[in-house]
């Protein structure tokens, strides 16, 4: 149970690129993926910018190998999961005990919405094939079946921390000797349901979001998927491409303050970060980079910032929110940001917190605003906080 769990591969699709190389290029060149809606259809089209994956469902279907009639959430998931597996270079995956632990927030809601418009006029109408994959778990199974993974398949949904929870759950399945290999992460496509839901909360920025800025106005929703391949020590030993990163710490804690709002002192975030540090055996000063949850809402950024202050003061690591690039991808964000965290270690890079103009006056620190190359990044903390006070932190470490 004390054996380490290694990261053997990563895969990603987001508004800034359809694979790892494209995303890295956008990060290095400060190219955000937020824009007016192009593929996604909503009455808010002209008003609310979003961070879309720049492919329609037909193109995504071609890229993934699934039919284009399937939920976009599954299409995105399959693209990123396939990249993660091929990146890991595990040849005999079928011979190993392999699991797929995926997260998403609203399952096949993009299709359910289509069904529902007709169903409401007459409950005998609407195509059943549009609602058959409504359940979150059904999206995971569509992808698991394509990947040929069946030893353990499950889905986690805890709002915006979902895929961070999927990642540490996967690691624990390896530590408990239930599995040898786990593909873990999450996926979410833009849906009217979530866009309108967040819109009722009046936390969507009608401009491009500015996380951790004094004048931040809210978040931009995004879509995408991010997965990592976790392997046991035994499997790692046989890989031709030796892992260079391990998952060294994690923690989930509950803010227990309000169904949607974070507590002013960021209690849940503080507990998650300090719990992850404890698990990894590291001290705050060991952390080289924090990938912030940093949504750009008034409430999140001050709560998260306050928690960081409580934990790290006076010595702050470099930090940034990559949501200024990808938008807030909800159930996928923990997976996408885990991939960014791992890449930061592997490539020795740190990403800029785009569009940060005025630092928050309550905080004695400021996120990084330029892309940093050739820097030694040994330990990265990745934060993911969600509705229901669900706070998770992961720590990735260089081997």
């Amino acid at each position: 149970m004390n054996d380490p769990v290694f990261v053997a591969g990563t895969g990603i699709i987001s508004a800034i690129g359809n694979n790892t190389a494209e995303c890295l290029d956008a990060l290095e060149n400060s190219r955000a993926g937020i824009d007016n809606m192009q593929y996604f259809d909503s009455v808010h089209r002209q008003k609310i910018p979003v961070a879309e994956v720049k492919l329609d469902n037909v193109a995504l279907a071609k890229l993934s190998g699934l039919a284009n009639t399937k939920s976009r959430t599954a299409l995105l998931s399959l693209v990123a999961a396939k990249e993660a597996i091929s990146n890991a270079g595990i040849k005999n995956i079928a011979a190993l005990r392999t699991g797929f632990i995926s997260a998403n927030s609203v399952g096949g809601m993009d299709k359910t919405e289509k069904f529902f418009a007709e169903f409401l006029s007459n409950n005998q109408r609407g195509k059943l094939r549009d609602v058959v994959h409504h359940e979150c778990g059904s999206i995971t199974e569509l992808v698991a079946d394509q990947l040929g993974i069946k030893d353990y398949v499950t889905t986690i949904s805890t709002a915006c921390s979902s895929s961070a929870n999927a990642i540490f759950f996967g690691a624990r399945l390896i530590k408990n000797n239930i599995l040898d290999v786990v593909v873990a992460g999450g996926t979410d496509a833009l849906t009217k349901f979530t866009l309108n839901g967040f819109n009722t909360l009046m936390i969507l920025d009608e401009q491009f979001c500015q996380p951790f800025d004094e004048n931040r106005r809210g978040l931009n929703l995004g879509e995408g998927a991010g997965y990592i391949v976790l392997v046991s020590e035994k499997v790692a030993a046989f890989l031709s491409k030796k892992p260079t990163v391990k998952l060294s710490g994690w923690c989930n804690a509950n803010d227990a303050y309000h169904q949607t709002a974070s507590s002013p002192d960021g209690n849940g975030s503080f507990l998650a970060m300090s719990g992850a540090l404890k698990k990894s055996g590291l001290l705050p000063q060991d952390i080289d980079y924090i990938n912030l949850h940093g949504t750009g809402t008034q409430n999140n950024d001050i709560a998260e910032g306050t928690a960081i202050k409580r934990l790290f003061d006076p010595q702050y690591p470099r930090m940034s929110s990559t949501k200024a690039f990808t938008g807030h991808t909800l159930g996928a964000s923990g997976g996408i940001e885990a991939v960014f965290s791992i890449l930061a270690i592997q490539q020795g890079i740190i990403y800029p917190n785009l569009r940060l103009q005025t630092p928050m006056k309550e905080l004695p620190f400021m996120p990084v605003t330029d892309f940093i190359k050739n820097t030694n990044v040994k330990h990265v903390l990745s934060n993911s906080f969600g509705f229901g006070g669900n706070c998770s932190s992961l720590i990735f470490s260089k081997l």
């Binding site: 909360l201 309000h258 169904q259 949607t260």
Partner: protein, 83 residues
């Protein structure tokens, strides 16, 4: 104001309350009725739907929704504007 109270009770599903239980000047939030930020958002929709008044700046919420009286005054002022 009685109508407004009935509407508030319905919108926020305050099952145990009757309109006469809410005093005109009683604070609606925290120490008063104990409403929170989600209720404020519900009340914004109530103004929009029942009175066609759009409160676009959420920061105005605390002032407008301080009590039933402040809400009623806001409605009266803005309905006059609309005419």
């Amino acid at each position: 104001m009685l109508d407004l109270k009935t509407q508030i009770i319905a919108q926020l599903n305050l099952q145990d309350l009757k309109p006469e239980d809410i005093a005109n000047d009683q604070p609606l939030f925290v120490e008063g009725l104990g409403l929170d930020s989600i209720d404020a958002l519900e009340l914004i929709v109530l103004l929009q739907q029942s009175y066609k008044i759009k409160l676009s700046n959420a920061d105005d919420g605390p002032k407008v929704f301080r009590s039933v009286r402040t809400m009623a005054e806001y409605i009266t002022a803005h309905q006059a504007q609309n005419v």
